[in-house]
């Protein structure tokens, strides 16, 4: 079970959890991250919240999404 913090929105907390999994190697590059539906199921949030999570990860360049396929871990940005 997730222990939600009260001082930050759920969508941000879920996004951070997924980012930690990516950083830890749990999700490899080009491997799928949880889908909208899976986020709803695993974290017990609403669909709108799940969408916001994936939207945030895309905006940060952490993942990329393909319609009809899902969202996947992006290759690390070159520095």
């Amino acid at each position: 079970m997730i222990e939600w913090r009260l001082n930050q929105p759920k969508w941000l907390q879920v996004a951070n959890i997924i980012k930690e999994r990516i950083a830890s190697g749990q999700y490899q590059v080009d491997a799928p991250v949880p889908s909208e539906h899976q986020i709803v199921q695993e974290f017990g949030v609403a669909r709108g919240t799940a969408r916001k999570v994936l939207e945030r990860l895309r905006e940060e360049g952490v993942t990329y999404s393909v319609r009809g396929l899902g969202s996947f871990v992006a290759a690390p940005a070159a520095e």
Copy 2:
């Protein structure tokens, strides 16, 4: 035509109707229940609502779904 009740969601009402059909023997074990598209057509709901109906039936163990095939009546759970 369906007479929708205002006090409960459409997806629940449709799910209950299908469960009644299963209970009555109208849909046999391993026989297909209405597909998403058929639910859309018969009950006049959106696909998302139809998906929610089948999702609920799966969660209750009433049916099982196979990608590319459809949803089918599950064998009764042993007690």
